[in-house]
């Protein structure tokens, strides 16, 4: 199914090592290779410290890989660029710009005319349900609203690859689920053939099951599994109870060392 799609992201033997303060070498990402076709929604899952955030930082161009090659859209990446948008774990919305100016910022950097970029920004603010606060300062918004602004900013900038680094980790249950809908609606907004490629880092298994076309699992810097999620969209609460989904969930929990209730004694790590 995905073979017909062009390759959007290609990682070949990518590694990243850090030198800790005590001088010891730590390997955050270990010889990782994979290919993500255009339009796919991929979740990177793993315990904290498994290297998934480091991998995203390298894809964003904020970190250099120690070894290996990263290509996006067929071209080797060098440094950050507007072709790859990133929603950070912590709030990154500029507090000194009003909401609308934040959403326009990437377009402004790329020299889009003021009237045109305002119109684009308004469109995306409407998509994330924030039209009523376009003139507000970020400090006047809640944590969930700030995430909406960041998502609108990144989508408005038009990059074909979107990376989200545990974006909803700090939010409450209800807000998180609302933002899943916002994100999936935006992803679908341009029609199935024009979907952007999404890399979504999370340690929440249910979040990955609700969002992903494919879940790739990391542990201690290694890619340990790669699981397609075939359940139809839009997914509901019931989708997560389908036998396939439950099986995937057990598999993921086993990878995280959490599946204590697995029947049949197959809970070996």
């Amino acid at each position: 199914m995905t073979d017909t799609q062009p390759r959007m992201i290609e990682l070949a033997h990518v590694s990243r090592r850090f030198r800790r303060a005590d001088g010891q070498q730590v390997s955050a990402v270990n010889d990782v290779s994979f290919i993500i076709p255009e339009g796919e929604f991929v979740c990177l899952v793993g315990p904290s410290g498994c290297g998934k955030s480091t991998l995203l930082q390298m894809l964003a161009g904020l970190l250099e890989p120690s070894d290996g090659d990263i290509a996006v859209g067929g071209r080797q990446i060098s440094g950050p660029g507007p072709d790859r948008g990133m929603v950070f774990q912590k709030d990154s919305v500029f507090p000194w710009m009003r909401v609308i100016d934040n959403v326009e910022y990437g377009l402004k950097c790329r020299g889009i005319a003021p009237a045109e970029r305002r119109e684009i920004a308004r469109t995306y603010l409407r998509h994330v349900g924030l039209s009523h606060v376009e003139r507000a300062w970020p400090r006047e918004l809640s944590g969930g609203m700030l995430k909406r602004v960041a998502i609108a900013t990144v989508f408005a900038n038009g990059g074909r690859v979107l990376m989200l680094d545990e974006p909803f980790g700090a939010l409450d249950y209800v807000t998180r689920h609302q933002l899943h809908d916002v994100l999936l609606n935006l992803w679908n907004a341009d029609g199935e053939g024009r979907r952007r490629t999404v890399l979504f880092v999370t340690h929440d298994v249910d979040e990955a099951l609700a969002l992903a076309d494919r879940i790739t699992v990391f542990r201690a810097g290694d890619q340990v599994d790669d699981i397609p999620v075939t359940a139809a969209r839009p997914r509901t609460t019931d989708s997560l109870l389908l036998p396939d989904m439950v099986a995937i969930k057990h598999k993921l929990l086993r990878h995280l060392g959490l599946d204590h209730a697995a029947p049949g004694g197959e809970a070996a790590a």
């Binding site: 990437g106 507000a136 400090r139 807000t175």
Partner: protein, 309 residues
Amino acid sequence: MAGGEQVAARVGDAVKTAASVAGSPVATPRTGGAGHALRFPLRSLAAAVDPLRLVGLVLVVAIWQAVAAAVPPIILPSPVSVARRLATDFLDAPSLSYYGLTNPNLYGNLLYTTQNVAIAVTVGAAIGVVAGLFTARFRLLRAVIDPIMMTAGTVPILIAAPFLLIWFGVGRFSAVSLVVFYVVVILYLFAQRAAGNLNPIYEDFARTLGASQRRIVLDLLIPATVPEILGGLRIALAGAWGLEAVAELLGSQEGVGKVLEVFAGATDTEGIMACLLMLGLTAMVVDTIAGWLVRRAARWNAGLTGERS
């Protein structure tokens, strides 16, 4: 179902927002510059008639008046006579012309001092801010400049005055360069700290959005540091008045400091206190304007608004 959740999301977020900013409605469009300009005199007027502030002022004046009634005017003139003296001397003080002052009035000398303070603060702030922002971003530069500024900051600046008088004479330049020196050190520290406090996540986000280094300086570094830098400017300004006046006192042909020196020579306590009152009132007015500017520049930052004084 999805539509319903969407609405619930908006309502939920809106309620949270309303709770967190109690009293500042988000949805209403903000008033523009005209609205702020109109509110400014009203707000400072309201601050001026704050009954508690008035109590303190009235108390000081009352004690002053009581003590003045008990001692001879040459030791402590009464507040009323000082105010009257300021009113008459402000536009015309013929006695000053005997001492060779160009302007035989307080007004002209106040203008001279104010100009010097304005020049010194402008030049000093420009140097200090640029140096502070640059050193915050380039570690090598910081390693070179930091020790210089730290040394300069620990030397009591007034003791450089005789030295500057030898170099530049009794003209405008020596007093101004003294104040410039002081302002540079303060704003260097404020600008550097402000830039250092900028969370690196903003720069990372800007880079992923496609911002160039130039854009990062223009759109991130400068606006993010403006409130803190203006706060430093306000502090520098407060000190600048005193330093300028003392520098003039030590050697100048004009200015409030020179007038003070003349009055002191003539043991004219009333004249001295009139000068002090004038300088104090001027500094207060300028500080109020500066405070308003800080609040305006920091509108986006609730933590700074109205808390710098």
